[in-house]
C-alpha cells in the first residue's frame, strides 16, 4: 500500500512579471543544483515567482508553509498504522526529493530551529535527505531544487535565520516593484484599468511611507490586487480600499483614521 503523495507538473502558466534578472539567476541556480533563498516583504510576489519558475522549468512544485510547530516528521515523513501494520508515508520534502521536484519552504524562519537542520545536507554539495526512521539516505536527482523564503522585515529577534542555514543558499532580493510595473501587475491581476491601478499603487506607496511610524508593514502588492479585485467586482473604490487595504493593515483606530485620509487623498 502506498500512501505517499504523487506529484504532477503545473500545466497553466502563472502570471509573473519579471523585475530584474531573477529568472535568469533562478534558472542558473537550478542548472547548477544550488538552493535559493528568496528575501522580501510579505505579498511582493515570492510565491508567485516560484510557481512561475516551476512551470518554466517543467518541474512539480511542493509548497510547505512553515509554522512553529512544524516537526522534522512533518517534512520527512512518518509511519501510520493501517490495519495491523505500519505504513510509511513520505512527507512533502521526501516526496519532492524522490520526484526531483521543486520544494518551496515558505517563511522558513517560522519553523522550529531543530526542524530546519534536516535541510542542511540537502542544501549543500551532498544533496541527500536522511530519512533516519527508515535508515534511508535519499539522494536528490539533478532536477530537485530547494527554495526557501523569509521576510527580513520582522524585527523580532526570534525570527532570524541562522548563518549556518542562510550561507547555503543563493539569495535573491525581492521588493515591491517600481510604480509603473506594479501598476501593470495590479491592473492585470485585479482586472482594473491602468488609471485605477496607478492610484492603488500610489496608495500603496503612501502607506509604505508610514512603515515604522505606526505601521509594521506598508500595503503589499497582494493587498493592492485584492482592492483592485473588489473594485472590478463593482465595489466603490474608496470602500474597496478601506476594506482591502486600510483595515487589513492595522487595528489601531487612530492609525485607521490616517489610512482613511490617505485613501481619500488618492480617490
Amino acid at each position: 500500500m502506498n500512501l505517499s503523495p504523487e506529484l504532477s507538473q503545473p500545466v497553466d502558466e502563472p502570471y509573473y512579471q519579471p523585475i530584474a534578472n531573477e529568472v535568469a539567476l533562478f534558472e542558473a541556480s537550478h542548472a547548477r543544483r544550488l538552493p535559493v533563498l528568496l528575501k522580501g516583504p510579505t505579498g511582493c510576489g515570492k510565491t508567485r515567482f516560484v510557481e512561475y519558475m516551476a512551470w518554466r522549468l517543467k518541474r512539480p512544485l511542493v509548497t510547505v508553509a512553515c509554522h512553529d510547530d512544524l516537526t522534522t516528521a512533518d517534512l520527512v515523513g512518518r509511519y501510520l498504522i493501517v490495519g495491523n501494520e505500519t505504513v510509511w508515508v513520505d512527507g512533502p520534502l521526501t516526496a519532492a526529493v524522490r520526484a526531483g521536484a521543486i520544494c518551496y519552504l515558505d517563511e522558513i524562519v517560522e519553523a522550529r530551529k531543530d526542524t530546519i537542520v534536516v535541510i542542511h545536507p540537502l542544501a549543500d554539495a551532498r544533496r541527500v535527505l536522511a530519512v533516519d526512521k527508515r535508515g534511508e539516505m535519499v539522494a536528490a536527482p539533478d532536477s530537485f531544487m530547494l527554495v526557501v523564503s523569509y521576510n527580513p522585515g520582522y524585527q523580532s529577534v526570534l525570527k532570524e535565520i541562522k548563518p549556518s542555514t542562510r550561507q547555503r543558499f543563493v539569495a535573491l532580493d525581492f521588493d515591491y516593484p517600481e510604480a509603473a510595473v506594479e501598476a501593470g501587475i495590479v491592473g492585470r491581476e485585479g482586472g482594473v484599468d491602468f488609471e485605477t491601478a496607478r492610484r492603488l499603487v500610489k496608495l500603496g506607496e503612501l502607506t509604505r511611507n508610514l512603515k515604522g511610524a505606526g505601521l509594521d508593514e506598508g500595503a503589499s502588492t497582494r493587498l493592492l490586487v485584492h482592492a483592485a479585485q473588489l473594485i472590478a467586482a463593482g465595489i466603490e473604490p474608496q470602500a474597496a480600499c478601506t476594506a482591502a487595504v486600510a483595515r487589513a493593515l492595522c487595528d489601531d483606530p487612530d492609525m485607521n483614521g490616517t489610512l482613511d485620509d490617505l485613501v481619500a487623498a488618492v480617490f
Binding site: 498504522i81 502607506t207 487612530d254 490616517t258 487623498a265 480617490f267
Partner: protein, 728 residues
C-alpha cells in the same frame, strides 16, 4: 524619605471629586457627617471666607478673601463646593490660579455647566503647565471664548486635536520626516510645517479641520514640487527685486497664491481625492487668478512659470487674491533650512560613497567619469559602471536630495575623502551629558487632583552605569557559594524541558504501547483508540522580567549593599532558568531630570561588563517612580515573551525633591503608572524594606503584589525565592 503612615480619606484615595452635598456613604467620617447636616444649604459669606482662607491664602496674607467670598455667595452649594475644590487643587500648583478661579467662578457658572466648569479649570492648569502663568490667566479670563469653543458656537478646530492624525498623513505623503508645529500662521520652512493653533474661518468644525489638512498638504507640496527652487532656479535671486522693499508683502502673497494654483494641479495629478478636498475648501477661483489658470493649473507647470507670471500680476496693480486656504511664504527662512539640509544630505551621501569605494579598494584614485544615479530614486548608484547599493541612511538622504533638487547633484557623488561611514554624524552632534541637553524621552504624569495627565511632564534621561569594581561579583559569589549552588539546583528543575507525550492522535512516531493496546482491543471486540502516536512537546518558558532598582539617596549604606548582593543572586538564579531579564536603576531630581540607569539590557549576556555595572549601583537622588515605571514598561513591552513581569526593589514610598511628589500625588501617579502597565499586560511586583510599606503598597500594587522584608540583610537570601514564586 518619610515613613509616617499616610492617612487616606476616601477623597484623596481615588482622587475623585464629589460635591459635599452628595456624600451619602455610611462610612463617611464624623466630620463629613456633621457637614452633611447642613449639606444642602448654601454657604454664607463668612463661612466661604474661612474656607477660602484655608485653601488659598495659607501663605499669602496680603489679599483678603472677603471680596471673593461675596462673589461666591450667590452660587448654590454644589457649585460653591466645586469652586472650593478646584481652587484648592489649582492653588496646589500655583496659588494665583486658585485665586483667579475663585474670582471668575461666578461669571464662569453663568456660561458653563458643571462639566464645562471642570474643563475650564483643567484647560487653565494645562495652559500653566505648558506656557506658564500668563497664558493660564489669559485663558481663564476668556470665559466667553472658552464657552463658545465648548458649545460649538464658534466652529473651531484645534491644532492639538488634529496634530497626531495629520502628522501621520503628512508623513505618508512625504516619506521623509516633516514635523508639524504650532505657528502664528500656516507656513513651512521646508522641514517643519507650521499651522495656527486654531482655525475658525469656515462655517463648521469639520470644514475647519479640513482646512488644516488642505493647508498642510499645500505646504508639503511646496517642498515636494519645488516651490523653494531647484538646481536650475534660485528662488532668492528671482524674488530679489521685491524682497526688503515695500512691495515685499504683496509680492509674497501673490507668489504664495500662484504657487497654490500650480501645486493644486500637481497634487491633482497624483492624488485626485486630495485635490477634490482642496477645491472644496478653496471654492471658486478668485477673478484675478482666472486668466492665469491655463498656464499655471497644469501638472507640468514649474516654479519658472510662477516666477514669470509674478511680475505681470504685480504690475497689474490688483490686490493679491484671497484664497480660503492661503498659506504664507517665507523664502528666507525656508532657504536657510533647506540649504542646511541639502548640505547635510550631500555629506551623508558622500560619506557613504567614500566608504563604499574604500571597501572596493580604489579610494585613492580620482574619477574621470562621475558616477550617475539610477532612476530608482537613489536606491542604487552606478559608480564606474558598477552598481552600488547605498546604506539605508544614505538612500534616505539621496531621496531627500531628489525631492529638494530634482536630482542628486553630481558634486556630491565625488566621495568626501577617506574615513569610515558614519550615518549618525550630524551637525551639532556629539552632545555631552549636561542638564540642558534634550530629554531622551518625555512621559505624561497623572495628577490625581485634576484627574488628568500632565502632558510630557517628566523628562527622562537614560544612561549606562559607569562600570565599578570588577571583583565585586566574584566576591559575593564566593561568600554565598553554598546558597547559589542550592538556588541553581532548584531553578534548574523549573527549566522548560522537552517531553514525549504518548497516546496522541498525531505525532512524529508510532506509540508502540498504544498500538499493542489497540490491537488487543480490536481482537477483543472493543473499539480501538485512534490515539496511536507520540509527540514531542517543548515546555518553553516565555517570560521576560524587568528589575527596577531604587537608586535614590535613601538607599545609601546597607540598603544599597543589599540591593547589589540581591542583584547578583538574582542573576545567578535566572541565568540557570534561562528567562529573559533586564536590570535598570532609577533615580531623579525633579520632573525635568528623571534618570534611568542601564545595568543590564534584555539582549545583554550576564558578562563581565554587566557584573562591573552591578558593582557600581549606588545611591543617587530621589524616587520619582511613575515615570520610571512608564519607561521600563515600554521597554518590557518590546520583549516577545508571553508573560512580562516588572519587579521593583525599593526602600520606600515615591518621593521627589521640591514638588508635591512625596505625598498622595506621587502615590497616585505611581498607582496610575502601574495600572497602565497592567492594562498592557505587564504584571508588577514590589519588594521593599520599608516597614510601613504595607500601608501604601497595597494601594499601589494590589493586595498580593508586594513583599515587605523586615530586615534588609535578608534581601539577597530571599530574592531568588520570591522570584521563583512569581515566575513558576
Amino acid at each position: 524619605m518619610t515613613s509616617s503612615p499616610p492617612s487616606f480619606s476616601a477623597r484623596c484615595l481615588f482622587g475623585q471629586f464629589r460635591p459635599e452635598g452628595s456624600y451619602s456613604s455610611p462610612t463617611d467620617n464624623p466630620e463629613d457627617l456633621r457637614r452633611k447636616a447642613g449639606a444642602n444649604r448654601r454657604l454664607f459669606g463668612d463661612e466661604l471666607e474661612t474656607r477660602l482662607d484655608e485653601v488659598l491664602f495659607a501663605s499669602h496674607s496680603h489679599r483678603s478673601a472677603t471680596k471673593l467670598a461675596l462673589g461666591l455667595e450667590a452660587l448654590n452649594r454644589s457649585q460653591q463646593e466645586r469652586v472650593l475644590h478646584w481652587a484648592a487643587v489649582a492653588a496646589g500648583t500655583y496659588a494665583e490660579i486658585g485665586y483667579q478661579i475663585a474670582t471668575f467662578a461666578p461669571r464662569a457658572f453663568m456660561l458653563l455647566d458643571d462639566g464645562g466648569f471642570d474643563a475650564w479649570v483643567l484647560a487653565g492648569l494645562d495652559a500653566y503647565d505648558r506656557h506658564g502663568g500668563r497664558a493660564a490667566m489669559d485663558l481663564l479670563r476668556d470665559i466667553e471664548g472658552f464657552s463658545a469653543g465648548r458649545n460649538g458656537a464658534r466652529p473651531v478646530a484645534k491644532f492639538t486635536d488634529i496634530e497626531a492624525r495629520l502628522g501621520r498623513f503628512i508623513q505618508g505623503l512625504a516619506g521623509r520626516p516633516l514635523n508639524l508645529a504650532v505657528g502664528t500662521c500656516a507656513w513651512t520652512d521646508s522641514e517643519t510645517i507650521f499651522l495656527p493653533p486654531e482655525q475658525d474661518s469656515l462655517f463648521d468644525a469639520a470644514a475647519n479641520r479640513r482646512l488644516y489638512k488642505v493647508q498642510a498638504a499645500i505646504l508639503w507640496a511646496q517642498s515636494r514640487f519645488g516651490s523653494f527652487g531647484s538646481a536650475s532656479v534660485d528662488l532668492e535671486t528671482s524674488l530679489a527685486p521685491w524682497l526688503g522693499k515695500a512691495e515685499e508683502e504683496r509680492a509674497l502673497i501673490w507668489f504664495a497664491a500662484l504657487e497654490s494654483v500650480r501645486l493644486e494641479a500637481c497634487i491633482a495629478f497624483e492624488l485626485s481625492g486630495l485635490a477634490t478636498e482642496i477645491a472644496a475648501v478653496r471654492g471658486a477661483w478668485p477673478d484675478s487668478l482666472l486668466p492665469l489658470l491655463p498656464r499655471l493649473f497644469r501638472p507640468q507647470a514649474t516654479l519658472s512659470d510662477t516666477l514669470e507670471l509674478l511680475p505681470l500680476c504685480l504690475l497689474g496693480g490688483e490686490d493679491a487674491p484671497r484664497l480660503a486656504h492661503a498659506v504664507r511664504f517665507d523664502p528666507a527662512a525656508a532657504q536657510r533650512i533647506r540649504a542646511a539640509r541639502i548640505l547635510r544630505d550631500m555629506k551623508t551621501v558622500q560619506r557613504a560613497i567614500s566608504a563604499l569605494k574604500g571597501s572596493s579598494g580604489r579610494s585613492g584614485e580620482h574619477d574621470e567619469s562621475l558616477p550617475s544615479l539610477a532612476t530608482d530614486a537613489g536606491a542604487y548608484l552606478s559608480l564606474e559602471g558598477e552598481a552600488l547599493v547605498l546604506p539605508p541612511e544614505a538612500r534616505a538622504a539621496a531621496q531627500s536630495l531628489v525631492q529638494d533638487l530634482g536630482e542628486v547633484p553630481p558634486e556630491c557623488l565625488v566621495p568626501a575623502g577617506p574615513g569610515p561611514w558614519q550615518p549618525t554624524e550630524r551637525e551639532g552632534g556629539g552632545e555631552d551629558f549636561a542638564s540642558d541637553r534634550q530629554a531622551d524621552y518625555r512621559y505624561d504624569e497623572w495628577d490625581y487632583r485634576r484627574r488628568a495627565y500632565r502632558k510630557g511632564w517628566c523628562h527622562l534621561f537614560e544612561t549606562e552605569v559607569e562600570p565599578g569594581d570588577r571583583a565585586y561579583v566574584a566576591a559575593v559569589r564566593q561568600r554565598h557559594s553554598a546558597l547559589i549552588k542550592q538556588i541553581r539546583r532548584r531553578f534548574e528543575m523549573l527549566r522548560g524541558e522537552n517531553r514525549m507525550l504518548g497516546r496522541q492522535p498525531e505525532g512524529e512516531e508510532v506509540d508502540l504501547d498504544a498500538v499493542v493496546d489497540a490491537i488487543a482491543d480490536r481482537r477483543g471486540g472493543l473499539e480501538p483508540t485512534a490515539r496511536l502516536f507520540c509527540r514531542r512537546v517543548r515546555n518553553q518558558r516565555s517570560l521576560a522580567a524587568m528589575f527596577m532598582v531604587d537608586m535614590s539617596g535613601s538607599t545609601k549604606g546597607w540598603v544599597n549593599e543589599a540591593e547589589r548582593e540581591a542583584l547578583v543572586m538574582l542573576s545567578e538564579a535566572i541565568e540557570s532558568l534561562g528567562d529573559a531579564y533586564a536590570i535598570y536603576g532609577f533615580s531623579g531630581w525633579t520632573r525635568t531630570r528623571s534618570d534611568i540607569y542601564r545595568i543590564k539590557r534584555f539582549d545583554e549576556a550576564y558578562d563581565e561588563a554587566v557584573k562591573a555595572r552591578i558593582a557600581a549601583v549606588e545611591a543617587k537622588d530621589y524616587t520619582r517612580m511613575g515615570v520610571a515605571i512608564r519607561h521600563l514598561t515600554a521597554l518590557l513591552l518590546r520583549q516577545p515573551a508571553r508573560h512580562r513581569l516588572l519587579i521593583t526593589l525599593s526602600d520606600g514610598r515615591p518621593d521627589d525633591f521640591g514638588d508635591e511628589y512625596r505625598g498622595h500625588y506621587g502615590i497616585e501617579d505611581t498607582r496610575r503608572a502601574l495600572q497602565e502597565a497592567r492594562e498592557q499586560g505587564v504584571r508588577s511586583y514590589c519588594i521593599t524594606i520599608d516597614s510601613h510599606g504595607a500601608d501604601y503598597l497595597a494601594h499601589m500594587y494590589g493586595a498580593a503584589r508586594f513583599t515587605v522584608l523586615d530586615d534588609v540583610r535578608k534581601l539577597p537570601l530571599k530574592i531568588a525565592d520570591i522570584y521563583r514564586r512569581l515566575a513558576s
